[in-house]
């Protein structure tokens, strides 16, 4: 089906301005970002269950498959490509060290969820870490190594 309905929107992604772009009304944000070469945002289920598409929208983690591109008008977005500050560099090193990246499909979403955990400044136990990442599926690691990495980040960064 071709989309007849479009919206004209402006927003920022990883500090870069996108002004007056036309998007099909039915297009979700993940598809729009991927169409712009930002393929670090992964799509698994497109129904909110897997978490691979999790990005930052105005400072909060959201599912980019469950936000329309049109709804991003005026927003400040950050995707895994923009996770280059000192804290996120340290998080990535910790994931590498603990072998928490395997195929990498879940990684962008896991990194985003880790970022939100660290920004909340909460000292989580391992069980609490598991519950915080319960919305992100990983089919490779068995989660143990991801929990190890996040635990280390909480101890070292916060």
């Amino acid at each position: 089906m071709t989309a007849n309905n479009t919206s004209n929107i402006s927003f920022t992604v990883n500090g870069e301005k996108f002004n007056n772009v036309n998007v099909p009304s039915r297009q979700h944000l993940a598809d729009y970002l991927r169409s712009q070469g930002l393929t670090g945002t992964h799509l698994g289920c497109e129904q909110g269950a897997c978490g691979a598409c999790t990005i930052e929208m105005d400072g909060k983690a959201v599912r980019s498959c469950l936000v329309l591109a049109s709804q991003a008008n005026g927003s400040d977005l950050k995707t895994v490509e923009g996770f280059d500050d000192q804290m996120m560099e340290q998080v990535k090193q910790s994931f590498l060290k603990h072998n928490a990246f395997q195929c990498g499909f879940c990684s962008p979403g896991m990194l985003m969820t880790t970022k939100e955990i660290l920004l909340s400044k909460k000292k989580l136990t391992r069980d609490e870490i598991r519950s915080e990442i319960s919305g992100n599926y990983c089919r490779c690691t068995g989660y143990q190594s991801i929990v190890d990495a996040i635990e280390e980040c909480i101890n070292e960064i916060n």
Binding site: N5, G48, N73
Partner: protein, 280 residues
């Protein structure tokens, strides 16, 4: 999958949203999108137009309104969980919302969306029924208030008219001797429950002297079990008696994760699990 084509309208105020909805029968409200967009992506429905109300200001207030705690329709689950008034006056809501989906979904999903959608497996509609909450809707003829127990009519079917939108929910403030207890069984933290129970308890010390039970994820809407609650008050916890009573009172509907027999069993043991919390 991808959603079918629709037009998108960002509503500037409530009246604007009501006007469009009144004119176009196939237009639907978009709030947090955390239930609607999965349904559209899976092509379970294909509306003509989405009326985005998420940017209307002033619809996410949380405040005391007389004898009620008022939660604006657009308050997100995350926002409600961090709210001081909720923590002081209705802390059970925070425990309940912890079981609703996952953090990134709670950052978008709204209180009003969950109430209006009327998913039989969702926690908040059952809470609204169990606490005798009022659902405030606004339409072409102004505002009206609907008792939660009259709001849920059947599977995803509510008493909302075509031109109306939910603007907030009013929960009666809890009394000293009252407790709202909650428990659910699910396969994975954040998943929809296989069966869940909200109990509204009136107690003296740890002794229960009045009780109402409302289930979710058991039938086609929040299921009140008044006869069973009465039986419990008379005879205490007796598994087979309560199970028989629940079986006659609720039309259990099995799903992919649990058969109707299993839901009946879970509903029975949930009574014990929930009331054990009084002693904790």
């Amino acid at each position: 999958m991808k959603a079918a084509d629709f037009s998108y309208h960002e509503a500037t105020n409530i009246q604007d949203a009501i006007n469009i909805k009144a004119k176009d029968e196939e237009a639907v409200i978009l709030a947090g999108g955390q239930s609607l967009l999965p349904a559209l992506n899976m092509r379970l429905s294909s509306p003509s137009c989405l009326i985005d109300i998420s940017k209307i200001s002033g619809l996410d207030d949380i405040k005391i309104d007389g004898d009620y705690l008022f939660i604006g329709a657009l308050a997100t689950h995350s926002h409600v969980m961090k709210n001081e008034l909720v923590l002081k006056r209705m802390p059970c809501l925070i425990d309940i919302l912890k079981m609703v989906a996952h953090p990134a979904i709670r950052n978008k999903g709204t209180h009003g969306g969950s109430i209006a959608y009327g998913d039989p497996a969702a926690e908040l509609p059952a809470l609204a029924v169990a606490t005798n909450a009022e659902i405030i809707v606004s339409g072409q003829n102004g505002d009206r208030s609907i008792h939660a127990k009259d709001f849920y009519l059947g599977l995803f079917e509510t008493a909302i008219n075509q031109d109306e939108i939910v603007i907030g929910i009013k929960y009666p403030l809890l009394k000293q001797e009252q407790a709202i207890l909650f428990e659910e069984v699910c396969r994975r933290h954040g998943d929809y429950a296989m069966a869940g129970l909200i109990a509204n308890v009136n107690k003296i010390g740890n002794k229960v002297n009045d009780l109402s039970l409302v289930y979710f994820a058991t039938g086609d809407k929040p299921d009140s079990a008044d006869k069973t609650a009465k039986l419990y008050l008379e005879n205490g916890y007796d598994y087979s008696n309560l199970k028989n009573s629940l079986n006659s009172e609720i039309d259990f509907a099995g799903d992919l994760n649990s058969s109707s027999e299993m839901k009946l069993h879970l509903a029975t043991i949930l009574i014990k699990k929930v009331l054990n919390k009084l002693e904790a």
